[in-house]
Symmetry: C2
Subunit: 453 residues, 2 copies
C-alpha cells in the first residue's frame, strides 16, 4: 500500500483480476487505480475507505472478473447493415450475388457511419474495447469510434474493382497517403492503417504500392490470405506459386503485416510467416459459417506466430461477440484435431487480449492490466447460473460466459458502459436508422429469401 | 376472429410468431390464446381490447419472436456441480481421473436435486422448456422439475460398475420397473424413461434387461452410442462387430430408442438406425470440446432419421444454452463438409423444437405452436444491437441470438420467466448451495489445476 499516490479518477475494488501479465496473473480482491486514462496502480487486499482520497468514481467489482478489454483484430463493422441478409449459400454466390452488389448500391458515408456505430454498440456490450476494421469510407468508422469513446485501428480498403468510395485506382498511393496523414495523431483512440482486400482481388502493383505507403508511414498493412481453396487455386494459376510465397516475393511480409484467416497454408508457408514475423487474425466463426476451413492455429502458436481473434464482418458471423469467438476457437481446434488439449482456455483468452494487442502492434499500450497501460478494462459478472460454480476463470470465460455477462467497460479511462447501459451511444436511434437502411435493401429486392423464412 | 371463444388464461399479442407447424410457419402480429395449459387459438391481426373477455394475463410480444420453447434432448443436469472442474484434458483422463471419481464421492440425492435445479434455472433463462435427462438419483431431477414448473423426460441410469445410487446390479430389472411405475402419470410435466450408459460400460445382459422393461412400459430407452473411436474399437474387440450392429443384434433398435452422439458410424449403420426408426440426440458443443468428432447429421436427415439437439452435461459443454448449440450445429457441419449449405438455419431451428419433440416421442404435445398443443412458448426480444437489422428470423435465431435474449417463458400454460425474472426458483439460494458443493470438491483436492488458472 502506498498512501502517497495521487487521487485516482476511478477506483475498481474487489472481484478477481486477470492481469494477462505474468508473473502475477490472478489477483484476488484487487484495488485498481486509474488516472489520466491510464492504469496508475494495482494493489491487493482490503483498502480502507478514503485511503486514496476522493476518487471521482468507485466501481465495486465484487463477484466479477476484472480483465483487459477484448481486442477484435479483424472486422468490417459497417456490414452490420447486411447482418443475416444472405446465409447458407455457397461462398462465391454469397459474395458475388449478394454482398458485393449490396455494397455497391447501399454503402455510402452515412451507412458506414451508422453501421459502424451499431457495431461499436454491440462490441462494447460484449466486452470488446479495441477493434481493427477494414472497409470503404473508413474515416466514417474513425468518426463513429471517437464519438462512442471506442478504440480502433481503421484501415482504408483497396481492391482492384470500382468501389463506392473509389471509382478508379490510379490514385491508390495518394489516397493511402492522405488517409494515413489525416488520421495520424488525430485522436489517442484511433490508429490508421491500410488494407488490400486479397491477393486475388488486388494486382501485384496495388499490393506493392499500398504496402510501400504503409511501410513508410509506419502503419500496419492488412490482407485476407489463404481464406479459401479457390483463392489458392487462383493464385497458383496466375502466378505459379502459393499465396504466401507470392506475398513474400512482393516483399509484403514483415512484422507490420496482418494476414486474416490463413487457412490453406502448408508448413513451409507457416515458416515463411513466422520468419517474417507476420501477424495472424483468426476468425473461426466466419470460417465455419462460410465453410472456408480450419486455420492451423496450434501450428502457428508453436512457431511463435502472434495470433489474435477476430469476428470478421457480421454478414458472415453473424455477430461481433468475442466471447462466442473464444469458445468457438477452442472447440474447433479440439474437434478438428481429435485432441482436447489442442488449444487450452488460457491460450484462447491470451489470443483475445494480449495476443490481439501484439497482432496490432499495440502490446505496449493495451491487452493487459499493468501500471502505465491504457485503462481498457471490462468487468464480467460471474454471479449467473451458467457461470456457477466457478472453479477456474479461464475455463468459464471461454466455455460458458457470453458477451451479455460483461457489465461495465472502460476505454482509455472513460466509462463507456455501466451496468450494461451504454453511456456514449444513442442506441435506439442508431438501431432505428439501420432498420431503415435494411428496409431499403429489402425494397430493392436484395433479400435472397422469399418471404421472411 | 371468433367472439364465441371462452376467455383465455393468457393472451400473447403482437410480435412475429414462428409456429414450426406448416403450412403457416410465420404469422405477423398474432394473437395467441392459452387456456388450461394448452394453446387454445391463434388468430391474426389487431384484435380489439376486451374482445376475448378478461384474460388473467396479457403479454405484449411487440418486437419479439414468439416460438415453441426449445427441447434439449440429451443432458445430465446435476453435472452443473462439475462445470469447469476439469477441461482441456484427454477424454479418458477427464472421465476416469476427474468426472467418475468426483461423481462417486459427491453425487447424492441432495447434490442431484440442487444441481438439477441450477440447471433448470439456466435452461429456462436460455429458452429451453423441455429437457431429457439421464443420471443417478433421477427421481430428484423429477422433483426439481416439478418444483420449478419445468417439463422433462427423466431417465434413470444404468451402468455396470457401482454407482452412488446402485452399488450392485442384480436388481436392474426391478429398479427400472419401480422407477417407471413411480413416475408414470405422477405429473403432466414429467415422463419417465431409462438409460444405459453405453455399449462399452453395459453388458449385453444389462442392455437387454433394461430395454425389455422400457419396451413393456412404453417408455424411451436411451444410450450413448458411437461417441468415440475408442468405443468403436472396444466393441469390435469384445463382440467382433460395429456398435450399431451390436445393438441391433440385441434387439435394442426401435422408435423408442434414443441414441446420443452417433459420431463414428458408417453408411450401413446409419441405414440400420433409419430402418429401426431410432432417434438421434446430436450434441455438437460437447463433441467438439471433448475432441470426440463430428456426427454425420446431414446424412441422418437425408435418411429421414429424427435428430434433436442436446447440450450434454455441462461438465463437457460447459453451458446448457441451446441457442449456442444451434449456432454450433450449423457452423460445424458447414466447416466439416466445406459446404455452407450443408445444414441451414431453418433445419437447425426445427431440430431444436419439433425435431426434438419427435425424438422424445412427444411431437403430438410439444415442439410447435398449434391449437391443442401444450402451451410451451418463449419470447425472444429482437430489439438488440446484435439482432439488428432483422431480415430473417431463422438466421438470427441460429447465427446471432443467445439464450439471454429470451425474455419470457411459458411451460404448460404457466409463466415460469417474465422479463428475465424466474418466478418459481429461488435462484440466489440455489447458486449459493452449488457454490458450497464446489468448495467441498476443491477442498477434497478434486480440482485438477493448481491455483485458479
Amino acid at each position: 500500500m502506498n498512501s502517497l499516490k495521487e487521487t485516482p479518477d476511478i477506483l475498481i475494488t474487489g472481484g478477481t483480476l486477470l492481469t494477462m501479465a505474468p508473473p502475477e496473473e490472478i489477483v484476488e480482491d484487487p484495488v485498481i487505480g486509474i488516472r489520466d486514462g491510464k492504469i496508475d496502480f494495482i494493489e491487493k487486499g482490503k483498502i480502507p475507505a478514503g485511503h486514496y482520497g476522493a476518487a471521482r468514481e468507485i466501481i465495486d467489482a465484487s463477484g466479477c472478473i476484472v480483465m483487459p478489454g477484448l481486442v477484435n483484430v479483424h472486422t468490417h463493422l459497417a456490414m452490420t447493415c447486411f447482418r443475416g441478409l444472405a446465409d447458407d449459400l455457397p461462398l462465391m454466390t454469397w459474395l458475388n450475388d449478394h454482398i458485393f452488389p449490396a455494397e455497391a448500391r447501399f454503402i455510402n458515408r452515412r451507412t458506414v457511419y451508422v453501421g459502424a456505430m451499431l457495431a461499436i454498440a454491440e462490441m462494447i456490450l460484449s466486452g470488446t474495447t479495441t477493434f481493427c476494421d477494414g472497409y470503404f469510407f473508413e474515416g466514417e468508422v474513425g468518426r463513429a469510434a471517437i464519438a462512442a469513446g471506442m478504440r480502433g485501428v481503421i484501415a482504408q480498403g483497396f481492391i482492384d474493382f470500382p468501389t463506392p468510395n473509389q471509382p478508379g485506382h490510379s490514385e491508390n498511393a495518394a489516397i493511402a497517403e492522405r488517409f494515413v496523414e489525416r488520421w495520424h495523431d488525430r485522436s489517442p483512440l484511433i490508429t490508421p492503417a491500410l488494407v488490400c482486400h486479397s491477393p486475388y482481388t488486388c494486382s501485384p502493383d496495388t499490393l506493392r504500392i499500398v504496402k510501400d505507403v504503409a511501410r513508410r508511414a509506419g502503419v500496419t498493412f492488412q490482407i485476407h490470405l489463404a481464406e479459401t481453396r479457390e483463392e489458392v487455386r487462383l493464385i497458383r494459376e496466375r502466378y505459379g506459386k502459393k499465396s504466401v510465397q507470392h506475398l513474400h516475393d512482393l516483399d509484403l511480409l514483415d512484422q507490420n503485416t496482418i494476414a486474416a484467416h490463413c487457412i490453406w497454408l502448408d508448413g513451409g508457408e507457416l515458416d515463411l510467416l513466422a520468419a517474417g514475423r507476420v501477424k495472424v487474425a483468426h476468425d473461426p466463426e466466419s470460417n465455419m459459417k462460410l465453410g472456408a476451413g480450419v486455420a492451423p492455429v496450434p501450428e502457428m502458436l508453436r512457431r511463435g506466430i502472434d495470433v489474435g481473434l477476430g469476428t470478421d464482418g457480421c454478414a458472415s458471423n453473424n455477430d461481433l461477440d468475442l466471447f462466442g469467438e473464444m469458445g468457438m476457437a477452442a472447440r474447433l481446434q479440439k474437434v478438428f484435431s481429435g485432441d482436447p488439449t489442442a488449444l487450452t482456455a488460457k491460450r484462447v483468452v491470451e489470443m483475445a487480449t494480449i495476443g490481439g494487442a501484439r497482432v496490432l502492434g499495440m502490446a505496449d499500450r493495451i491487452g493487459s492490466i499493468a501500471p502505465g497501460k491504457e485503462a481498457d478494462i471490462i468487468l464480467v459478472d460471474m454471479r449467473k447460473p451458467h457461470l456457477t460454480p466457478l472453479y477456474r476463470p479461464f475455463s468459464h470465460l471461454v466455455y460458458a460466459a457470453r458477451g451479455a455477462d460483461v457489465v461495465t467497460s472502460i476505454i482509455g479511462g472513460r466509462i463507456v458502459m455501466k451496468e450494461r447501459r451504454l453511456l456514449q451511444i444513442e442506441l435506439t436511434a442508431v438501431m432505428e436508422e439501420v432498420r431503415r437502411i435494411a428496409d431499403r435493401i429489402i425494397e430493392a429486392g436484395f433479400h435472397h429469401n422469399a418471404g421472411r423464412l
